[in-house]
Symmetry: C2
Subunit: 537 residues, 2 copies
């Protein structure tokens, strides 16, 4: 028996059940009529979107989602549909996959492995299922699994033992750099051991801090990837199976690591703006590398007519910064304003003169400059309904080298999970597509330009020392002694770690941004602000 299975790599909106149902119906009709598919498989929790977080605690929301499944069953004919939904039974909730065909539920599977680490909180919402699920369709016995199930050993085996000849896996597997290789390697290894072909459908799209990269795939019983959908694109593809074995051989090639990181950032901006209904984006353009990269990302995500740049020079801004910022805006074809901040800085200096009498200048005066820029940018954002993008990178977020309500002001922080060295690599990568970032911006020493002749290295270890220390401490949870043993100087490690420890309060108030590493700040790294822990003494 041959069977045509459509992989629906969709980008749905969390929480919008009615729209998601409409999109499921459209996609199913398309797969049936245009692709001749017998079955169409959607991503995990299709109906609610993933992750719906505490919406899943609302009874009204859950009832609507469960009703939607019945509605779907009535609306689709001539094709079987596999969709994910939060299944309610009594006062329990399951993360389930249901097979609908000709108006009836053919099968329903409850996810057994519920991830509760990293960005995942599934045990907050769901009860784990306790059994395999296999259904017969046109003579083929098909097993169902959901995401984490196929990362754990045992569940694929048990499903095969229960009679499955072919596995369908629905997923919401978030991107991070290198994740696609890890994902395919683990699934292929499991499939090879169990000798059962597997269809892996992943969602795509940005959802707050998470990016889902798609790259759905099919593995044959020998553990070889024989089909792969594109990364970072919505796509409905069809794969033919004969007696449970895939006969298609259509492999989208994988992007390079730097290219996939760039595309993840672009998709993150695009979906945050689109899904939240902003009219476009604005950002402060300083002439530095961070804002240059964010501008390029924003234009690639939204188009030049939706993006606006603001230059806000002060007495400490070098001429080359202004020149380069103008060059960037012109190269990308965006509208820009120039609004010097001196009048506001002077006003605040005067207003605070009495209270500050007799005190020495310190970072307070630097922060005032950054906050004047924040006020200007937020005013432009408020007036126009455009999203303010902040331009801080992960290295700065880690050590608190940023001003709360100043350069940290904004609705979305595209590169908050991009370490400084990667900022340079991404800038260089973007310039290989078309030259938009002046070379001088990439080569000059980075500076916040909040004091005369200031450069970042006055306050921080050089980034080629700082970034690897931060990766070890923040992403890998290594101890100070382990990092020192790996060859870093004790004083650099001590400085970096103590800054990370002390700046949790700033990160707690930072806007969301795109997660591209294996551990971002935010839901992924939940540290107390009030803490006596010191990573190094």
């Amino acid at each position: 028996m041959t069977l045509k299975i459509a992989l629906a790599q969709t980008n749905f909106l969390v929480g919008n059940i009615a729209a998601n149902v409409d999109n499921i119906i459209k996609a199913a009709n398309y797969a049936r009529d245009e692709l001749g598919a017998d079955i169409i498989v959607f991503p995990e929790l299709t109906i609610t979107g993933y992750p719906a977080e505490d919406l899943l605690l609302r009874i009204d929301f859950i009832i609507e989602a469960n009703n939607a499944v019945y509605q779907l069953a009535d609306c689709i004919a001539g094709i079987a549909v596999v969709v994910g939904f939060p299944e309610r039974e009594g006062n329990k909730l399951y993360n389930s996959a249901v097979v609908l065909h000709q108006g009836v539920k053919l099968a329903c599977y409850r996810k057994q492995a519920l991830p509760n680490y990293g960005v995942f909180d599934e045990q907050r919402y769901f009860t784990a299922g306790d059994r395999s699920c296999v259904f017969e369709f046109n003579g083929t016995f098909i097993g169902l699994t959901i995401c984490e199930d196929v990362w754990k050993s045992g569940i694929i085996d048990a499903t095969k033992q229960a009679g499955a000849e072919l596995l369908l896996t629905i997923n919401a597997s978030p991107f991070n750099s290198g994740k696609i290789h890890q994902r395919e390697a683990i699934v292929c290894q499991q499939v090879k051991a169990a000798q059962i072909p597997l269809v892996y459908v992943n969602q795509i799209g940005g959802q707050d801090e998470l990016i889902f990269d798609g790259a759905s795939f099919v593995v044959d019983a020998q553990g070889r990837v024989v089909f792969r959908a594109e990364e970072f694109k919505e796509q409905i593809s069809v794969v033919e199976f004969d007696g449970g074995n895939p006969v298609a051989h259509d492999l989208a090639s994988l992007y390079s690591e730097i290219s996939s990181e760039y595309q993840a950032l672009v998709l993150g901006i695009k979906d945050y703006v689109r899904k939240n209904g902003f009219k476009g984006a604005i950002l402060g353009l300083s002439g530095g590398i961070d804002s240059a990269l964010v501008l390029a990302l924003a234009v690639d995500a939204l188009g030049p007519d939706k993006v606006e740049a603001v230059l806000m020079p002060s007495r400490y801004t070098q001429d080359m910064s202004n020149e380069d910022a103008v060059l960037e805006a012109k190269a990308l074809g965006v509208k820009y304003h120039i609004i010097p901040i001196e009048p506001a800085v002077n006003a605040f200096t005067g207003m605070l003169a009495e209270a500050f009498a007799g005190t020495a200048k310190d970072t307070t005066e630097e922060n005032i400059q950054a906050r004047c820029r924040g006020v200007i940018l937020m005013a432009l954002s408020n007036k126009q309904g455009k999203l303010l993008l902040t331009t801080g990178n992960k290295s700065e977020m880690s050590v608190g080298y940023a001003t709360l309500y100043g350069d940290m002001a904004g609705g979305f922080a595209p590169i908050k999970d991009v370490p400084k060295l990667l900022v340079y690599q991404l800038a260089n990568y973007r310039n290989t597509l078309s030259a938009v970032i002046p070379e001088r911006v990439i080569t000059r020493p980075p500076s916040a330009e909040l004091a005369r002749d200031q450069i970042d290295e006055d306050s921080l270890p050089p980034y080629d020392v700082l970034d690897p220390i931060l990766e070890r401490y923040v992403e890998l949870d290594q101890s100070a002694e382990e990092i020192i043993a790996a060859g870093f100087r004790r004083e650099d490690v001590a400085r970096a770690i103590s800054l990370v420890d002390r700046n949790e309060y700033k990160r707690r108030q930072s806007p969301p941004g795109v997660r591209i590493t294996s551990r971002a700040f935010g839901r992924d790294r939940r540290y107390p602000i009030t803490s006596g822990y010191r990573g190094i003494s």
Copy 2:
């Protein structure tokens, strides 16, 4: 056999293992020498503090905590000690209670019920234990349980079945309004059913958004509370047991609801300032009820010499606002500044004139005023190392009636979980202790004073309508239809709910504050920003 058990209701710092160990030793020696205790019982996860959040994912931290237990065993003699710690075995972590006596581990219990709802993420870190634990001490058979264990049915029974005559329960049970009654009722009911006396030791203190209220207690086998320690105070008390039965009868009386709420807020400010090493606190004083209450709370927490108020009038500030703000500062004996914001507002107006040419006035101009105040307050905070307290209440946080980086700027938001109507009740309550808030501040209609003759009711339903709707929607997860059915007007419900839905992005960037309701914003209510969910259409 008689047995003297000390209840160590302690306030330890999360993450500071070395200091916590020192404090355990001091408390144990005190209980042995001054109270004649045979056993001293500390709260849950004593050694690390609770909740240590993702510090628990650091191997170095866990090793240090496990080593600390051995160290403790060596340092304490002549008294048995029950402490909580994150017990590591292989690559698993347990939330454990260990009994140390004369240098050896007498018993070790692993928590069986791991809460993973509300503010709790214990399944992120811990593996559940699977058995009861009973040890013999001076002829008495004592069972161990930990917090959530005694909220679930079955575990107390099983521990009694395993031979326990007396139960020790170590806890980190956070405060919310009315929680103490719920806590005692549930424990007493379970104890009465199982007919076994129970010692309940709770920690006290503020930890970021959580307040632990202490109020440790002892229940006899008939389910009667026969001893209760004070609420909101560190305290080491001793209770005598004869053949497992408590003979002491010393009951601290319970505070009224309003008094306990007030004390929770005071403790929250006090511990955030103290544990994070701030030199004091500052706040903007508007002449409105919210800042008046926060000022009183701050002074009660820190003393008048550690608190500073800033009046920042604009052209829209009424004279009575300035007069009342000065009266408040004087009544509480705090230093105050008066810094009119016109110079900065005028500067920004001029700087934005070109960009805003041809546009109509809207909330942008109101936000600029609020943000000028934010810049002033942050400058004073930065210069002096004093914590900036924001003064927004829960009603405002719910509907987004606040300016990001404006009145929302600050390190701690004491009343962010206090609905507006409760703000009034707390202000009246505080005035019964001593008159510090002018009557006019309580009786005049609330206003943000960001435009001429503005009052809150121009933009929002009256608070006696709004607050109950918000409680139902935010805290109880009721649907719009349920709320309407309870007697509220559809347009009020629709307005309130849609504002809550749309303002998650603001809340995500708000500072932490004291949780006093059964559901606060923050870790307690995890909503997506990007969401198509609309609670009402």
